[in-house]
Subunit: 251 residues, 2 copies
Amino acid sequence: MRENYTLQRLYIDDPLSARARIELSREAAHYLTKVIRKSEGDFVRLFNGESGEWRAVIETVSKKSAALVVQEHLRGPAPTSDVTLLFAPVRKHRTAFIIEKGTELGVRNFQPVLTARTQFPRLNVEKARLQAIEAAEQTERLDVPEINPARPFLDVLGDWGDTPILFADEAGEAEPARDACAKLFAPLAILIGPEGGFTEAEREELRAMKNVYPVTLGPRILRADTAAVALLSVWQSVSGDWGWAWSRKGV
Amino acid sequence: MRENYTLQRLYIDDPLSARARIELSREAAHYLTKVIRKSEGDFVRLFNGESGEWRAVIETVSKKSAALVVQEHLRGPAPTSDVTLLFAPVRKHRTAFIIEKGTELGVRNFQPVLTARTQFPRLNVEKARLQAIEAAEQTERLDVPEINPARPFLDVLGDWGDTPILFADEAGEAEPARDACAKLFAPLAILIGPEGGFTEAEREELRAMKNVYPVTLGPRILRADTAAVALLSVWQSVSGDWGWAWSRKGV
């Protein structure tokens, strides 16, 4: 139903099913009335990773609370591909950017890693989760990515399994990104280093791993946030879910 | 010479040649002393699109002025590929983001276009130029992209020549981005619509042009700034200058 597609979306942490009654938090009620300016009888879409997307009608709404009744099942559930983004936290607004863009580009797990040269090791997981929810609401995905607490980089490598790691390598010789992306399918991880690059010790750990694929992103030095968005885009385009002709006409 | 590669870079609007003496503006002198904390006798790299990149030594420097003497020619000139980004201006920080990331991703010309649904039509060309210069300094490119004043979208299409336009099409059926990118080489333009999409009249103009290639960027709705970065990345990776193995060892 085309008109459903234009309805605004809210992420709801509870299970959704036909005729379920959903009480919104105070923040969500404020968003509903003051930001997207909805009132009783209006429709929205509700979604989460387990229940997919549903149309709901607003039953009661005030500045402080709102209740919705779930009606029709519209889509899913359909989790995004199993893509993990391993990234060193950067300045606050650039980390926010990585969370927003990564969510749009289909990251399922964000794993902040603390490397020797990570200059901004603090990452507010709860805030990042809210940024991811907002981005997921905008981007029509049916699940919200997981934000993991930051961990030391070498610890993450130490208990890493067989999942391939596409590594945006700014130094040394590396394969063009499109060629490595063409060989690798989900589950996979994309690894972006800190602004100052990896240390020689960290690079040695990476080189010792069989499932690490260093790739080049061309002749210009990219900021860490740019590299994350760029490599995610190339992988999605070459081997991810951008690979066939999409049409939204039927949604 | 490996050590030259670590020297910080300054864009200089004047011709550069061996033994030329370069006087910096007050702002640039402030940047040199207070931000990158250089003093007399230190080296930096100077560059512009016509002269390429040179090593220079700081002869005199104060908070208000500085003079450098150009020494050794290091690289270029080497203009980036002829890629134009046609984009509708968005909120200020998102336009800044498009300029920064577009510069890192090798845009040669930024052409803001005013579509019917463009909500933030004002774009400060001089400010955007400073953002582009800063991004060019960071990203190791040898030229600085051109920022054109915003023009009505249909006027831009009206006097457009034969250059192919890769069009990030969020509605309707379109070819996967990687397939269209594989067919198109520079000169080309990448077109990103406004957040609200194009009107039917604008879409008809686009459809009437033979050199417009609509492409899809997958099943998730991307913000305009994300779409710009994503499509630039895919094109650079598939058909642009990321296409062979780069090594910075020799720089």
